[in-house]
């Protein structure tokens, strides 16, 4: 059983903002969000989520048009439908829409609903799908039940969050709501650019035997990386923002006089800002950040000093900017943000 990549975006254009919203919806608000480990960009569908073992695929199709008739809605379900017929285990289908005219819906207040909500328009939706299917495959047969069965499994979602709201949902960090919206807009843009970069990798007509094979094309994102990205940005705007000593860093400076403390914090912020500006060290820095976040999460009772020592042992402190005590300082910022 193979899966052939078809209907990927052949027009190379900037990834629409809407597709990024769809991506964020899938990983922050869908019912499968906690299971998702990988996000495939423009492979199986616009965005497809998969767990760590790649045993199931959660599919999302985004349609950023402002007005869709029920027929067009049905038509836009085509890729989801084809995926449901393929041999791979697609277990969740979402059509992500910008707007649906209330006159087509039984309950227009719902932002997430099933096909029933189209009421009498359900027929038109099914028709739109059916017509598109047979247009693409004039030689194939499919009976009504197949379409009905598929439609009963589809979740229709109307986009209802702002860009900052989506980003804030990705990770919990202390006082995240106090940070400026402009920061979250910039993070959204970062994700959008990365998504676009993934999109333009060509896989059209390539065949794979199982889902894991798709990882080889590098057309995917790790959810964990996205979370690290956000924590990285949240910490970034704290550098030099004020002169306070992070709570979990207090022990490290407790033996110092006030003046020595000020100089130490200045030194730590200096090194941390260099790390963020110096492209040459970004891999080592990212690796340090990743290990630090993991350790803080898994060993919440450990102090930043202990975590730093553990990272040193595992050779994670490779960039000179994270030498003692700047590395401990960064870990404290992470710990302060992640601790409950």
């Amino acid at each position: 059983m193979t899966y052939k990549f078809k209907y990927t975006e052949k027009n190379v254009a900037k990834a629409s903002e809407f597709e990024t919203r769809a991506l964020l919806f899938l990983i922050t608000s869908s019912t499968k969000k906690d299971l998702i480990h990988y996000l495939f960009i423009d492979c199986f569908n616009d965005i497809s989520g998969a767990g760590e073992k790649c045993e199931e695929i959660f599919d999302i199709q985004s349609k950023g048009l402002t007005s869709l008739t029920p027929g067009k809605v049905g038509k836009s379900l085509i890729t989801l439908f084809e995926n449901s017929l393929s041999g791979f285990n697609f277990s969740h289908f979402i059509l992500f829409l910008q707007h649906v005219d209330p006159k087509y819906l039984q309950d227009p207040s719902l932002k997430v609903f099933s096909a029933n909500n189209f009421g009498i328009q359900y027929k038109k939706v099914k028709e739109g799908l059916r017509n598109e299917y047979f247009r693409r495959h004039p030689d194939l047969k499919a009976d009504e039940k197949t379409f009905d069965c598929f439609l009963s499994n589809v979740q229709f979602v109307v986009d209802n969050n702002t860009k900052p709201e989506y980003i804030k949902l990705l990770t919990s960090f202390k006082n995240i709501n106090l940070k400026p919206d402009a920061l979250f807009e910039s993070i959204f843009k970062d994700i959008q650019i990365i998504q676009h970069a993934k999109k333009i990798i060509k896989v059209e007509d390539i065949e794979i035997l199982n889902v894991q094979d798709a990882l080889a094309f590098n057309k995917h994102l790790n959810i964990r990386d996205l979370q690290i990205l956000i924590i990285n940005r949240l910490i970034g705007i704290e550098i030099f923002n004020d002169n306070r000593v992070p709570m979990s860093f207090v022990n490290t400076v407790s033996s110092l006089e006030i003046d020595q403390r000020k100089d130490l914090i200045l030194e730590c912020n200096t090194n941390l800002s260099r790390a963020l500006f110096d492209k040459n060290t970004k891999e080592d820095f990212w690796s340090f950040l990743e290990s630090a976040i993991l350790e803080v999460r898994e060993n919440p009772e450990n102090t930043p000093e202990q975590i730093y020592a553990s990272l040193e042992d595992r050779n994670q402190v490779r960039t000179r900017y994270m030498k003692y005590p700047a590395g401990v300082y960064l870990i404290s910022l992470i710990k302060d943000g992640l601790d409950k």
Binding site: I187, D190, I193, I200, I237, T270, S273, R274
Partner: protein, 533 residues
């Protein structure tokens, strides 16, 4: 002071007690292990008491709170292990040590007595102070204090005297020593003055030339002022230099980062497919950038703000330095020329007149000290008398209450602590403790409630118990007691015949498991006050 509420939280379970009222409160149950002792111990632990929890109860992991009212002001205390937080009208205060906590308590909530420990005067710790009104269930020992070995019964007595006796003599031990030391140094100074007088009389010309029209006193004062100003200028200059160094570092950093930033923007690679200049990776290369332009801009902005702030600080320091230099200038200008010369040599040459005055003043100071020493000695004796009177007053009340409770009793209390080898029978120990706490409350007139855990210990009979309750009811203060009733008493609703007693039934609690998940919600409202989520 009255205790309003208390509570414990451990893991995902909690228990909150809000039923306390003014007057007499009795926590009772028909069986042991219903949580009464745990609640009482937790209640006082939150206020700073030593932990005397049963082994097996993981108190270090638990959070305790107590809410009380001192003179119309409500205070809430929250404690986990060694951290105590206090919420009051001025906000939230956090303490990591009992020393800090008791100082705050004494200065802002209710004064604590001072006692001498390790040759120093210190505030009494809560673990000692609370024994004035709190009797725990365990570790009772009529001949000594309850709990840790840091405090001895002599410390308790000293505390009681400090609270009840206005003619406290214990201050004087230090003062006496200080005065004696001063006496010694004054006597030696007197000798040196006498020598100088002799010299002056022998060489009158030297003395008069040196200080025409200038007093020795003014000379010393001026010299002190000058050195003070010099010290201030030097300290300000050092601070200013430090900030200047920091600004230099930040400005260098800013330039360094700006140049790194420029390099990023100068990349001349474009995408072969779409023509985009936004190249951030090649296939296979690492994906994410460790910062974006927004974050970098923010950092540079923050550095600019830091520099501006430090420049302001430097301006301030410079202003202060200028002010001090002006003062310095003025000091020097108003000093006569000859004095300026003399200050350079800083020799002690005095006019005869000054020496005579000095002689008189030292001698009179010596006399005054001697008088004070005599007075202090008298005070010490008086103080000792006062202490004895106080102790007698307390004892007589203790015996009075004892007789009221146990008219046939044969004991006569002669001290606040029994002798080491003395033992009391059954109910006598309880009667001793009860009488002591009530007597202390009467004589010292302290505002704290009387708290007795298991007040019927030792098989106190119903009759005696009723007398005890009557006594407490007659006092115009809160008391909190606990009792484990016999089945029959429980069935008879024993405390219903005391309508003014607030009886709180703990029988419904599961044995050894008073904490439950429903009270968790109540506890969260406490956390909210402290801004803890």
């Amino acid at each position: 002071m009255i205790i309003l509420e208390t509570g414990i939280r451990l893991g995902e379970e909690a228990f909150v007690e809000r039923r306390f009222k003014e007057g007499v409160n009795i926590l009772f149950s028909d069986d042991n292990n219903k949580g009464k002792t745990l609640i009482i111990q937790g209640m006082l632990y939150a206020l700073g008491n030593q932990p005397i929890f049963p082994t097996g109860f993981n108190y270090r992991e638990a959070t305790f709170y107590t809410k009380c009212r001192f003179n119309e002001v409500t205070w809430t205390f929250l404690r986990k292990d060694s951290i105590i937080q206090v919420h009051g009208p001025n906000g939230i205060n956090v303490f990591e040590s009992i020393s800090e906590y008791k100082r705050f308590f004494s200065e802002n909530i209710s004064p604590l007595p001072m006692i001498s420990m390790d040759n120093e005067r210190k505030l009494a710790d809560p673990e000692l102070f609370f024994q004035m009104f709190y009797l725990s269930q365990d570790k009772r020992n009529p001949s000594n204090l309850i709990g840790g070995s840091y405090y001895r019964k002599a410390d308790f007595l000293e505390m009681v005297y400090a609270l009840g006796n206005d003619t406290a003599p214990f201050d004087s031990k230090e003062s006496i020593q200080e005065l004696k030391d001063e006496l010694i140094s004054l006597k030696s100074e007197l000798e040196s003055v006498k020598r100088s007088i002799k010299f002056s009389k022998k060489h009158p010309d030297v003395a008069s030339i040196a200080l025409k029209g200038a007093d020795k006193e003014n000379f010393v004062i001026k010299r002190q002022e000058l050195s003070k100003v010099h010290a201030r200028i030097s300290s300000l200059t050092k601070d200013r230099l430090r900030e200047e160094n920091r600004i230099a570092k930040l400005e260098r950093l800013s330039n360094e980062l700006l140049s790194l930033n420029r390099d990023l923007a100068e990349g001349k690679v474009i995408c072969g497919d779409c023509g985009s200049k936004n190249i951030i990776y090649k296939v296979g290369e690492f994906l994410y950038d460790v910062s974006n332009s927004y974050v970098r801009a923010q950092i540079l902005e923050s550095i600019k703000n830091q520099i501006a702030l430090k420049k302001e600080i430097i301006h301030e320091k410079s202003r202060d330095i200028n002010d001090q230099q002006t003062i310095l200038q003025r000091l020097i200008e108003t000093t006569p020329r000859t004095l300026q010369q003399i200050m350079a040599f800083s020799q002690e040459i005095s006019s005869l007149r000054n020496l005579d005055e000095k002689h008189i003043s030292i001698t009179s100071r010596i006399n005054k000290i001697n008088q004070t020493l005599v007075q202090l000695k008298q005070n010490e004796n008086q103080g000792k008398q006062g202490n004895n009177l106080l102790e007698e007053e307390i004892l007589s009340l203790m015996n009075f209450y004892y007789k009221k409770i146990d008219p046939d009793g044969i004991q006569k209390f002669t001290a606040l602590f029994t002798k080491n080898d003395q033992t009391y029978s059954g109910s006598e120990e309880q009667e001793f403790y009860f009488s002591k706490l009530v007597a202390l409350s009467d004589v010292l007139k302290h505002e704290y409630p009387i708290i007795i855990d298991s007040f019927r210990d030792g098989e106190i009979s119903s009759g005696k118990e009723n007398v005890m309750i009557e006594i407490l009811l007659s006092k115009k203060k809160q008391s909190i007691l606990t009792a484990t009733l016999k089945q029959q008493e429980y069935a008879d609703e024993k405390y219903s015949k005391f309508p003014s007693v607030n009886s709180i039934n703990y029988s419904g609690h599961i044995n050894s498991h008073i904490l439950n998940d429903e009270d968790l919600k109540e506890f969260s409202s406490i956390y909210k006050i402290f801004g803890i989520s």
